[in-house]
């Protein structure tokens, strides 16, 4: 009380002195009421933002990547402030799909989006987002997919001993009961226009932002990257994602999506030459981007055509500078397309890196051999099954083919590949 009196006398006897003293919350003996005057009370209460949840392991705030199967493999989701790098497949068919799932999840949860691309206009990318599946229709869609999937030769049902019927199946990950985190999307339908218009998004299309006659100094960032970093920094600062401007309304997450980073359309020549002029441009960009992300409430997805990068050391550096790295390998055009082992799937998915954030160990799953399949409506990630090894007297050629491909798989799938003939006994 005495402190308040001296403050009053020091500040002068005008009416504003009383106003400033009451605004300042001067003494620590005053209890903070539920109605904080004007400023955001960021005290002991937890921040609950739509579409996020704390990780069960270490309380890290997670957002969904848009694919609940991928969330499960990454240990619950993508941590806020981290980068998810997707190594594109050769013909760039499946990586845009993961990119769009991430953005669609942002729209459904009401997050702010920032879409950057040098190839397509961000407005066009947003027009092609998949439509979300609502809860009541979810189960029907799934059952429909399951029935279409059954082939005639699967009449031989396995009789499972009753103890194991209760174990969770790895294959079909059905809709989770709580739909707050991780939604399902129908890849054959487009997101309704009103949802897109109601969302808050910012687009960065490189040909519009940059004039083509800019001179590039050596050992600096490509002008395209510089502009993009400035754009991201402006958005983070103006919309208060880093806490600099106190937000009057509810806090939100910024979802950043950058498409085809590292391709020559961004002005970067790591895909063209092995020892280009500005080979450090991309790594510098990722370093600065990570700094921006760590100090703000944002999550970023980047797709990169790593199969075109000529210098393998750059790929290793890029992997180290990102947090989560997922590689997609599609079977189109490769000899695996005709391999009977892979006939049910469209490609392999490799989880190359999972971060250790505020932790000594990371939450990696024990399933290392994963394959994906794009069904008509759904993108599923499943464990790759090998047929059991039955006998040694089968013809050698088929066994050699499968053994060659099985060599690439981890030990979790069995050591030898099976043969062609069915043996009943």
């Amino acid at each position: 009380m005495a402190a308040v009196a001296t403050c009053d006398s020091v500040a002068g006897s005008t009416g504003s002195a009383v106003a400033t003293a009451s605004k300042r919350n001067v003494t620590s003996f005053q209890k903070r009421g539920p109605r904080a005057s004007g400023t955001n009370d960021s005290g002991p209460r937890l921040v609950s933002i739509a579409g996020t949840r704390p990780s069960v392991r270490n309380g890290q705030l997670l957002v969904s990547t848009g694919l609940p199967a991928l969330d499960q493999l990454l240990g619950g989701g993508l941590a806020v402030g981290t980068v998810l790098l997707i190594e594109e497949d050769k013909y760039n068919i499946y990586s845009p799909l993961l990119f769009k799932y991430f953005l669609a999840e942002g729209i459904v949860n009401g997050h702010t989006l920032l879409v950057a691309s040098a190839k397509e206009d961000p407005a066009n990318i947003l027009q092609e987002l998949p439509a979300p599946l609502l809860d009541d229709k979810c189960k029907k869609e799934f059952d429909e997919d399951v029935y279409n999937h059954k082939t005639p030769e699967s009449n031989i049902k396995m009789k499972i001993a009753w103890r194991y019927q209760l174990l969770p199946k790895m294959e079909q990950i059905g809709p989770v009961s709580s739909s707050r985190f991780g939604h399902y999307y129908d890849a054959s339908k487009r997101m309704p226009q009103e949802l897109i218009e109601a969302s808050n998004w910012h687009g960065f299309f490189l040909p519009e932002k940059i004039s083509s006659t800019l001179k590039v100094e050596p050992c600096s960032l490509t002008p395209g990257y510089t502009k993009l970093l400035q754009f991201i920094q402006n958005i983070i600062y103006e919309e208060g994602f880093d806490g600099s401007n106190p937000q009057k309304k509810q806090r939100n997450i910024l979802r950043i999506g950058i498409q085809n980073l590292g391709s020559p359309l961004w002005g970067d020549d790591i895909c063209c030459a092995e020892n280009g002029g500005n080979s450090h441009s991309l790594t510098k960009f990722l370093y600065v981007l990570r700094g921006l992300l760590r100090t703000s409430l944002s999550a970023c997805i980047i797709t990169m055509p790593t199969h075109l990068i000529q210098n393998k050391a750059i790929i290793a550096r890029v992997t180290n500078l990102s947090d989560i790295v997922v590689g997609l390998e599609s079977f189109i055009g490769s000899e695996r397309e005709t391999n009977p082992l892979y006939k049910d799937y469209h490609g392999l998915i490799h989880i190359r890196q999972i971060p250790r954030l505020n932790n000594l160990i990371c939450d990696e799953s024990d399933v290392k051999d994963l394959a994906f399949k794009l069904k008509r409506k759904l993108f599923t990630i499943e464990r790759l099954h090998l047929p059991p090894d039955l006998s040694d007297t089968v013809s050698r050629s088929s066994k050699m083919d499968l053994a060659e491909s099985a060599k690439r798989l981890g030990p979790g799938c069995g050591m030898m590949a099976g043969g062609k003939k069915h043996l009943d006994f």
Binding site: Y91, N92, I93, N124, E128, S212, C272
Partner: protein, 316 residues
């Protein structure tokens, strides 16, 4: 009959290949090599587009204008808009007819057109440009030119643009070739065996699986295409004929296959740990006349009834 009608009246198969190459629009990459040259295919495509009434621009950098125009009839030659960068590539003579900015300036100027008519731009050759311009600049310019028409909801619809680029793949490393093939909508790789030329065509439609096919062809002196069947290929037998295939199940002492009756019997067998509804009912509702389960225990000589009393001397 006008030449354009004559061209359309040709056999359907003849025109199909050129049609499919030009129909998709965007960048069409023709990869040739020293053995199988691609300029004649480029000229065949140019002739086809000119006959279809499209505007055709040629950026001639590698061969002279006379050599390029050789073999075309006069009306086709009148329809071609030829930009000559062979005679004076660095514009030392400073005449007005030279395009400002060189070939790159010419490409960029074509980005800014607002004409709704479809246009075909032939680059002869893309290798020449790739050796003199930075790869990234060239890729950005090609992407800007070939994607003008892909903006939905645009106020002034721009016609379809096809960019035909001739690339000599032996001149470049895997980097630039890989980058250009990832940018291209259609990629034609020329090859062949024993005097027959073939084209391996890879079409990348956006968001769909790429389709590929191989077509054997030959180009006639007037630059029309003649599709052919490929030379007969002797198929290599996969299995070595010296080793006879033996069926290992012939002389076994046990039975490996089940007859129908045996299969039915196996299917109707209930496994001991299979949890069926009858078993569940039996467990949930024990029958009154069936007493609770009995344990029949016959103690052995060495069995200890009371484990806490090893000497059996406690008096309980």
């Amino acid at each position: 009959m006008t030449p354009s009608e004559g061209a359309r009246a040709g056999t359907g198969r003849e025109l199909e290949m050129l049609d499919s190459l030009l129909a998709l629009g965007g960048l069409v990459l023709l990869r040739d090599s020293v053995e199988w040259e691609g300029r004649s295919l480029l000229k065949a495509l140019v002739k086809k587009s000119a006959l279809c009434g499209e505007q055709v621009h040629i950026l001639g950098c590698e061969v002279s204008e006379e050599e390029f125009r050789e073999g075309f009839d006069s009306d086709i030659n009148n329809r071609l808009v030829y930009h000559d960068f062979f005679r004076d590539p660095l514009n030392w003579s400073k005449t007005e007819e030279a395009f400002p900015g060189g070939p790159l300036g010419a490409l960029r100027a074509m980005c800014k057109r607002t004409d709704p008519a479809p246009v075909t731009i032939a680059l002869d050759s893309l290798s020449w440009l790739l050796l003199r311009l930075p790869c990234t600049t060239l890729c950005q310019a090609l992407h800007a030119v070939s994607h003008q028409d892909s903006c939905p909801g645009d106020s002034s619809p721009v016609g379809k643009v096809s960019v035909l680029g001739l690339l000599h793949e032996e001149l470049h490393g895997p980097g630039p070739v890989g980058v250009l093939s990832s940018l291209a909508q259609t990629e034609v790789t020329l090859g062949g065996t024993m005097g027959h030329a073939s084209a391996h065509i890879l079409c990348r439609r956006p968001r769909q699986r790429p389709t590929d096919q191989t077509q054997w062809f030959s180009i006639l002196p007037d630059f029309s295409l003649d599709l052919q069947q490929g030379p007969s290929v002797e198929s290599q037998p996969y299995s070595d004929p010296h080793i006879p295939l033996v069926d290992p199940t012939t002389h076994l002492t046990f039975n490996l296959h089940l007859s129908k009756k045996e299969r039915e019997a196996r299917d109707s067998l209930t496994l001991p740990f299979q949890f069926s509804s009858e078993k569940q009912q039996a467990l949930l509702r024990p029958r009154p006349d069936q007493a609770t389960s009995h344990i029949f225990y016959e103690p052995d000589a060495y069995d200890d009834l009371d484990q806490e009393d090893p000497d059996d001397d406690l008096d309980i």
